[in-house]
Symmetry: C2
Subunit: 152 residues, 2 copies
DNA sequence: TTATATGCAAAAGATTTGCAATATA
DNA sequence: TATATTGCAAATCTTTTGCATATAA
């Protein structure tokens, strides 16, 4: 989805298209395929519309998540990261721990897992599958870092 | 693993077995098969050793997680829940959203997913698979709640 | 015009930290 | 006894809320 379509989706859901919303969505699109923290998002948004406030970013991320335009990822420390939803169809992500780059994985074992749950008398309503690793570039950087460690 | 073995594992890792640690592990064992929040854990721990402090609970959960005796689950709001690790072997959990009950799922598609990642030039280092739903009992309670909703 | 959205400041909630006191081995 | 552990209070960090003001439709 392009910027226009995303803004249209906001409008269609009864939300006004404000300067701040435009800037937030724009930055999210610019960071497509990469998770981004809320402060980092604000930092970049301010380059487009400098008046934007942190509270506004939080409030809008909630809205964007609600209409499924963005996806929220919680890290182990309980800090939220966001990225724009690339596909309409169900999928999961591989997230690079070095640079935050995300890759889409279309495979999902949910049907099988639902049956496993059903056998245990549980009705599944949600599932979370998140894969973490290092992309080629970050792997190289890590290698260099390790070299450095050896020297010092 | 029984309480004694768990405390031995603490000792073997160079940690002292304090009153607080004993109480914390005891309560975690008592809540086996169920995720529990930190305050709830403290509340129950205090019944055994009333002097226990919240800070101590946090510090020890970190240790217990580090030696793989407990497993941490983050909810969407960034709040942590813990439960004792039932098995030595790799597995995942189904968590009941009603009562926090956990069920072990031994199936894991990680080998396949690692290959998918490898094809995308990513080396997987971690993965998170969490399944959420409602157990039979909570399902019944939900049903009753819905009945209530219809009446009022 | 008018309801929605924003900014600011303050609050809330979870978790962490420094440091002096305490308990374990 | 020596070192790890704890408790307390304060700090930190992220996120949320109330309310007056500003803005999109």
């Amino acid at each position: 989805m392009g910027l226009d379509q995303l803004l249209k989706k906001l409008k269609n859901n009864g939300y006004k298209v404000t300067q701040q919303r435009k800037a937030i969505v724009q930055i999210l699109v610019l960071n497509k395929g990469k998770i981004i923290s809320v402060e980092e998002l604000l930092k970049q948004v301010k380059k487009i519309y400098s008046k934007t406030n942190l509270t506004t970013v939080y409030r809008n991320l909630e809205i964007l998540e609600h209409i499924h335009l963005v996806h929220k990822v919680m890290n182990e420390e309980g800090k939220a990261y966001y990225h724009i939803n690339e596909l309409d169809s169900h999928h999961h992500h591989i997230i690079c721990k070095g640079c935050g780059k995300t890759e889409v994985v279309e495979y999902c074992p949910i049907d099988y897992l639902s049956q496993v749950a059903k056998d245990k008398k549980i009705r599944l309503t949600e599932h979370k599958i998140e894969l973490y690793g290092y992309c080629e570039e970050c792997e190289k950087l890590n290698g260099l870092k390790e070299e450095d460690d050896k020297i010092h």
